[in-house]
């Protein structure tokens, strides 16, 4: 009897080990290993375990490395207020026992859907209090504020405070809610980067007379304003290899990326293209777990042409019609009645805010090269927390005060900014009081 029990135990153990061993090392199907649904930011790649768990024997440092490999650049750009290096000093040892802020996963634990707050935070939202409790005692304005209100009331962010720090509030106080209607720069980054790439392809075909520029102007599918003016012929994109004359009906994304380098880079960082980094097909609306989408779009996989093939060619077609072809949530559906949409048909689009045109800051420009403007194709870059949108987008036309208030008003966001903010964030008032 004893032998039978031991035998059964051995068989069951082997079956379990075999099942999970197969899932871990052999099978493409990893679902049985998933310990819980990943957060909104990561669910698209949750079945590619080694995108984060790069070493099966590593500890928190391994996960930290994975976080940093994708997010370090945006944290640096955002002048991260709480980088790891600020917590390395032993004088913080007592604080680290409560919240070990050296590791991203301390606050952003994955696969814990049931306790994940906005921004992917998985610890109680009074985390600021542990280190900054004296502020509540020393500043009258902060005296009776709730412990968990620091970072979710439109006043502070843990990482990116570029639009919220005190001096910035003071210097941008007392402005009219609508300053001026900003002029939107033409994007010239791809043209600059593409010049060298195309020199060997397009110019040869044009010079050899194989393709006449006037013929291109008659093609309906062609972007007459951009590619033709740049002297780009059909074969520049549709030829498989230079000089081969083998026609490719639908050029791959890599062809677009050869000139649109920065746009491609942004696309792969955002939610539309983040799967491409893991060698997966880009997400389709039907696979999304968050927003509402049009039924007809559910199986549309993302690519450059998913948006850029809209007809007739126009900025609005690419940056509004294409978006609304998939996105059917309340905010998106309210766009057409938004004051933004009614201002000028061709200038303000979904992309104006979600894929803004960013011009290199003078300090960031490469010496000897022109200051370029690109379209930020990472539509997630300024989305969460939404205060990241204040400086590059809202303040191009609106005051800081209006922008802060508007972005803190959830109703206004949902109706796509039809009306004035019904909520006031007093941070500028308090900053001005301290100046007196």
């Amino acid at each position: 009897m004893k032998k039978l029990v031991w035998g059964l135990w051995a068989v069951v153990t082997l079956l379990i080990v075999g099942y999970y061993g197969n899932a871990m090392f052999l099978s493409e199907e990893k679902e049985s290993l998933l310990i819980g649904e990943a957060s909104y930011g990561h669910y698209q790649i949750e079945m590619v375990c080694d995108s984060c768990h790069t070493d099966p024997f590593g500890g928190p440092e391994v996960l930290q490395k994975a976080c940093v490999s994708c997010h370090a650049e945006e944290l640096k750009e955002g002048h991260d207020s709480h980088p790891k290096k600020k917590f390395n000093d032993p004088r913080n040892a007592d604080r680290l026992e409560v919240i070990d802020a050296r590791y991203c996963v301390t606050c952003h634990t994955e696969h814990q859907a049931e306790r994940t707050h906005p921004m992917g935070v998985t610890i109680p939202e009074d985390y600021c209090f542990h280190c900054h409790q004296e502020v509540g005692e020393e500043r009258l304005s902060h005296k009776d504020l709730a412990f968990d209100s620091c970072a979710n009331a439109g006043c502070h962010n843990y990482h990116d405070n570029r639009a919220l720090y005190e001096r910035f509030l003071v210097e941008n106080a007392d402005q009219p809610w609508l300053n001026r209607l900003a002029e939107i720069n033409a994007a010239d980054s791809a043209s600059f980067h593409g010049r060298q790439v195309l020199a060997t392809k397009t110019e040869w075909h044009l010079a050899s007379g194989e393709v006449a520029k006037t013929d291109l102007l008659n093609l309906q599918h062609w972007d007459q304003n951009r590619h033709v003016e740049a002297g780009i012929s059909c074969v520049a994109c549709h030829e498989s290899t230079p000089g081969s004359k083998a026609w490719v009906e639908q050029p791959a994304m890599e062809v677009c990326a050869s000139c649109h380098q920065q746009e491609n880079e942004g696309f792969r960082k955002g939610r539309h293209g983040m799967r491409l980094v893991q060698d997966m097909a880009a997400i389709s609306p039907g696979e999304s777990r968050a927003l509402s989408f049009a039924d007809a779009s559910l199986n549309t996989s993302h690519s450059c042409m998913a948006c850029h093939s809209q007809q007739p060619k126009s900025e609005r077609a690419v940056a509004v019609t294409a978006c609304l072809g998939c996105h059917q949530d309340e905010h998106s559906l309210a766009f057409e009645r938004s004051p933004h949409a009614q201002r000028d048909e061709e200038s303000l689009t979904c992309a104006t805010c979600h894929m803004p045109r960013l011009t290199d800051a003078p300090l960031e420009a490469t010496p000897g090269q022109p200051v370029l403007t690109r379209v930020e194709h990472n539509q997630s870059a300024n989305l969460r927390p939404n205060e990241k949108m204040i400086r590059p987008v809202c303040m191009q036309c609106h005051s800081l005060a209006f922008s802060i208030d508007a972005l803190a008003d959830e109703t206004l966001i949902q109706n796509n900014f039809r009306g004035k903010p019904g909520h006031h964030v007093p941070s500028i008032d308090w900053a001005l009081e301290r100046e007196q």
């Binding site: 002048h79 980088p83 290096k85 000093d89 032993p90 004088r91 910035f168």
Partner: protein, 201 residues
């Protein structure tokens, strides 16, 4: 004084050099020593480099190229956000401490004060409080001790941080968050705390 053996001294000196316009930098990698250096000699040496760099940055860059000099750079708390912005001397010092912490855990250092503009830089541990009191009450002297933080024992040295330029006193005296507004040139404004993890001999 009790003899200590330092854990290791992989990076002995972090040094800076200021050349021309606004560059301050550099780390001199050191040779590995087995043991035997007295901890106060080690921390005194580190402090000498820190103090020299800090003074040079303050006088040769901020004073010479800033608003009081050529006006070519703008030392500013929010230096990243303004054209030609450069770090305030205290920020430069902290940036060095943070950069060192990314290179080695064989020592750490920080700049603290009983009268900090940012309350996060007030003394926190008992040893920091004792040290800052001591150097303020005994001008020209340093403070040495031993403390345990997070289960690790450290040799902790505290050195006076003296106002070497009117750029220091003016900025602190005029800052709205400064708890002390009558600093004078040559006065102790705070302290540099250097920690070295120990293992007993």
């Amino acid at each position: 004084m009790k003899e200590y053996h330092l854990k290791t001294i992989k990076q002995f000196v972090v040094a800076g050099s200021i050349a021309g316009s606004a560059a301050l930098l550099s780390a001199c990698g050191g040779s590995e020593q087995a043991a035997g250096i007295a901890p106060n000699v080690y921390t005194d040496s580190l402090f000498a480099v820190m103090k020299a760099d800090r003074t040079n940055y303050t006088k040769l860059v901020v004073k010479r190229l800033g608003p009081a000099g050529a006006g070519a750079v703008k030392p500013d708390e929010h230096w990243e956000d303004i054209p030609n912005g450069t770090l305030l001397p205290a920020q430069m010092f902290r940036a060095g401490a943070e950069a060192v912490a990314e290179m080695t855990d064989d020592f750490t250092y920080s700049l603290q004060s009983k009268w900090p503009i940012n309350s996060q830089n007030a003394p926190k541990t008992e040893m920091e409080k004792q040290g800052l009191e001591y150097i303020a009450a005994n001008p020209g002297e340093n403070f040495y001790g031993e403390e345990t933080l997070g289960g690790v024992t450290y040799y902790t040295a505290v050195y006076p941080d003296v106002a070497v330029s009117d750029a220091c006193t003016t900025c602190h005296n005029e800052h709205k968050d400064s708890p002390k507004t009558d600093f004078k040139l040559g006065e102790v404004m705070g302290g540099v705390v250097i920690r070295v993890p120990l293992k007993s001999s």
